[in-house]
């Protein structure tokens, strides 16, 4: 009998067993799959979502003073801020704070340039909407009370 014939069969068999070992250990290690949307993967602490306004803790109004620094700092020109000064108050308040997220490059210059730290990154990453409008003109004042009206902005 040819020796290499038998040797071939034996080395072949060993390699088969090794291959099966690999698949078996893979099968027994838990899969890293996160079953979105019923569960979400943990977001890193410095995750950058679209920007959002930060509320003033004492009043509940937006901290924004409508100075327009973010709007000027934005390289893609996607922030539009209009503000008014309410009666008897020193600071201006925004009446419109609109973000065109379709143009935003998430560079973060607006957040850095804000003098009163009124901007932050949201942790909203599941972005989906029925039409373009939802992201091309996001109203960031939604949900904030305003000193001008004392009423909540409705969506």
């Amino acid at each position: 009998m040819n020796w290499s014939y038998a040797q071939n069969i034996i080395t072949g068999l060993v390699s088969l067993v090794k291959g099966m070992q690999v698949t078996m250990t893979t099968m027994l290690t838990p899969s890293p799959t996160v079953e979105w949307p019923s569960e979400t993967a943990p977001l890193p602490p410095r995750f950058r979502g679209h920007i959002m306004l930060v509320a003033d803790e004492s009043t509940g109004f937006a901290r924004c003073i409508a100075c327009g620094a973010c709007s000027r700092a934005c390289p893609s020109n996607c922030i539009q801020v209009i503000g008014e000064k309410p009666e008897g108050v020193k600071k201006k308040s925004p009446t419109l704070f609109q973000l065109d997220f379709t143009k935003c490059s998430l560079c973060g210059l607006c957040v850095e340039s804000c003098p009163v730290a009124a901007l932050a990154y949201s942790r909203d990453y599941a972005l989906a909407g029925p039409d373009r409008q939802v992201y091309s003109s996001m109203d960031l004042l939604t949900g904030f009370a305003s000193p001008l009206t004392e009423q909540c902005h409705e969506l």
């Binding site: 291959g19 698949t23 893979t26 899969s31 799959t33």
Partner: protein, 321 residues
Amino acid sequence: MMITEISILRTLLTIAGITLVVGINAVFVVWLERKVAGHMQFRLGPTEVGPFGLLQTVADGLKLLSKQIIFPSSADTPIFILAPIICLIPVFVALVPVPFSKTLQAHELDIGLLLVIALGLLNTLGILLAGWGCDNKYALLGASRAVAQILAYKIPLLLCILPVILLAGTFSLREIVVAQQESMWFAFYQPVAFFMYLIAITMETNRSPFDFAEAESELVAGFHTEYSGMMFSLFFLAEYTYMFLASAIASILFLGGWLGPILPGPIWMLLKIYFFLFLMMWFRWTFPRVRVDQMLTFGWKILLPISLLNFLITAGVMAVL
């Protein structure tokens, strides 16, 4: 009069029982296959439909049922229709002599094993008809490969079964298990035959690494390229039932069928069958498809001489003792 009534009832029960076994087995095995495949590839497999995705196959089956069956214009329609039926029916019938316990058996035949082997051959005829009837070059290539393959595995397969028949002295599947009750399981007497039989049944059921008839990456879908809807799922059903049958025969011949401690016989039988089914899935998701010439070389130059030698040695030892 009494006898005919009982035999008619028995026949009806057999048909109902086998249909049930075939259906539930197919639903479960397809699910298991997808789960095993998923977990072996760092995935989860089906999870959404039903608990653990168990009803996924039912949903897919319903989808296939509602789909249109497309007949190619140049197909040979009678053969085209006949092919999936010829694939499925013999496996159906071959389950008749398979015993699930000493008493739970559709019909005891003293040549049960012979019947199973003979009907098993018809599967390839179905594949050949499917490839020939639909007038598609990929289908025909797949079918011709299946025919080339049958010559390479069927003779070693029979030569692996023969030593068991020599040891048991019978062709009856029930008697083969009873013979193992008195001694040990035949896998311990015939480890070489057992191992070769495992390889031969992966070839017989057209599964990777020997799935030449289908060969998705080479031949679109091989012999069932042109089939759609329910006719396609008949091929699927036939394949998974064939795996069930081959595993059942393997456990009867080598692992003592329903024999085992504590648990009742049918449960042991099913455990052994699903052990073999899992093994075949494990093979499929581990080994890549070999080349056609490699498979033929392997069948003729390795499987055949070793199984022939094993048979001759067994026969010699039996003659001396």
